[in-house]
Symmetry: none
Subunit: 123 residues, 4 copies
DNA sequence: GTGGTCTAGACCACT
DNA sequence: GTGGTCTAGACCACG
C-alpha cells in the first residue's frame, strides 16, 4: 500500500491519519504489535524522527502503547477505537455536507441523492 | 478568496475545478464575462500559460465560451451548468461513500448517520 | 533564575515542569506573552528544538496557546491554571507522605510534626 | 533494589543518604554487620574508593562502626538512629513546605490538604 | 535491535 | 522575527 504523502500538510499528521485508519479499519488489530519506528520510516520513505513524532501522537491519543524496548502495540480498548472511528466519520460527514451545500444542494436533496446512489433503501 | 493551489496535482487541473465550482455555485452567473487570462493569472499567482490551459479546458467542456477579441463568458446553457453540478456532486458522493465504507460503515448506517447529522444542528 | 537541568530526566520534561511552575505561581500571568522559542532556548542553554518540544507539550495540555507567527501566551483560563496547581500539589503531597512513611512515620505523626513546624496552629 | 545514582550530585553523597535510609528504616538493624566495601561497590556499580568514602562518612557521623579486620556494623545506639531519622524528616518537611509555598499555598492550607490526604485513601 | 532524546541546521508561511 | 516542520546523525537505556 502506498503512503501518498503530500508536502502540503505536515507529513507526520498525514502519517497519524493513515495509521489511525489502519487501526479503526482493522488492518492493525487491537493488541497487535506494529512495526518499529525504523521499519515504518523506511517503508514510508521519511526520516525516523518524523515517524517517531507521528507514533508519539498516536500514543498520546491512546490508540497505541509503547512497550519499552519492545515496540508498540495497538490499544486493546476497542471502545476507544470505535470512538475514533465515529469521530473520523463525523468529520467526513461534515466535510461532505459542506461541499454539497457549496454546490447548492439542500440537506434533503443530499439525502435523496445518497439514497439513490446507495440503492434506494428506505430511510 | 485564496486559491489554495497544491503542488501535488497539476495546477491547471486545480484551477479548472475551482472555476467550475464558481460557475455551478453561481459566483459566476450564466452569460457573465469572466476576467482576462492575465487578470486571473495574476490573482492566482500562476503563469498566464497555466491559466490559459485551464480556460481552454473549460471551453472545451463548454462551460465557458470565447468571444473573439473580447474575452470569455460563462455559458448561458443552464442545463449544462446543472449537469456539471450533478456530475461533481456524484463524484463527491462516490468518494464520500468510499471513505465511509473504508471506515467500515454499511450503506444503511451511512444514511442513518447523515439523517441524524442533517436533522440536528444547522451546518 | 537558573534552569538547573539534569541529564537524568528528559530535558524537555524538566522545562515543561519549570514553566508550569512559573505559570501556576504567577511569574507568567494569564494572557501574558511568553518569550519566543529561540529566546527561551538561549536562556536555558538548550537546542531550540528541545524548547519547542517543551512548549508543544504545554500547548497540548492547554496551559499556553500559540498565536501563529506572533509567539505564545499563557492561557486566560484561570480555572485550568488552578487545576494544574492542585494537581502538582497533590503529587508533592503524595511523594512527601511516601518518603515520610519510608522513614517509618505514621500518618498522624506526620501531621503532628508538620503542625509543629508550621507554628502550631490548630488543625 | 536499584541504586539510582545521578551524575548530578556527588555519588558518594547519594550513597551515604541511601545507606542512612536503610539504617533508619530498619533494613539494616542496629548491630547488624553491613556488606564489605567491595561487595557494596560491586552491587552499586561504583568504584570501591567511592564506596569507601561513603562508609567513612557514615562512620564519622557515628551511624556505623568499623570493627578492625572484620568489617563494619550499624551502631547499636538506637537514640542516634532516631535522631538521624528525625533530622532527615525535618529536612523533608522543610523542603516540602518550601515547594508548597512556592506553589502559593499558605501553611494552614497545606495542613488542611495533608489532613484530607492522610484521612482518605491508603497510601 | 527497540524506543527515547538531543543537537545542528535548514526551509517554510505568515505579518 | 515567529512558530512549525523536516532531515541527518548521534547517544542512551533496556534486555
Amino acid at each position: 500500500m502506498a503512503w501518498n504523502l503530500n508536502s502540503d500538510r505536515p507529513i507526520y499528521a498525514q502519517i497519524v491519519e493513515r495509521i489511525q485508519m489502519q487501526i479503526v479499519s482493522g488492518v492493525y488489530q487491537p493488541g497487535e504489535k506494529i512495526p518499529s519506528v525504523r521499519e515504518l520510516a523506511a517503508e514510508a520513505g521519511v526520516n525516523p524522527n518524523t515517524m517517531q513524532k507521528a507514533l508519539s501522537e498516536l500514543e498520546r491519543s491512546g490508540l497505541v502503547t509503547a512497550i519499552r524496548t519492545s515496540g508498540r502495540v495497538v490499544t486493546e480498548n476497542r471502545e476507544m477505537i470505535m470512538e475514533t472511528r465515529n469521530s473520523i466519520a463525523k468529520t467526513q460527514i461534515q466535510e461532505f455536507l459542506q461541499r454539497m451545500m457549496e454546490l447548492g444542494y439542500e440537506k434533503k436533496d443530499i439525502l435523496t441523492l445518497l439514497k439513490k446512489e446507495t440503492g434506494g433503501e428506505d430511510l
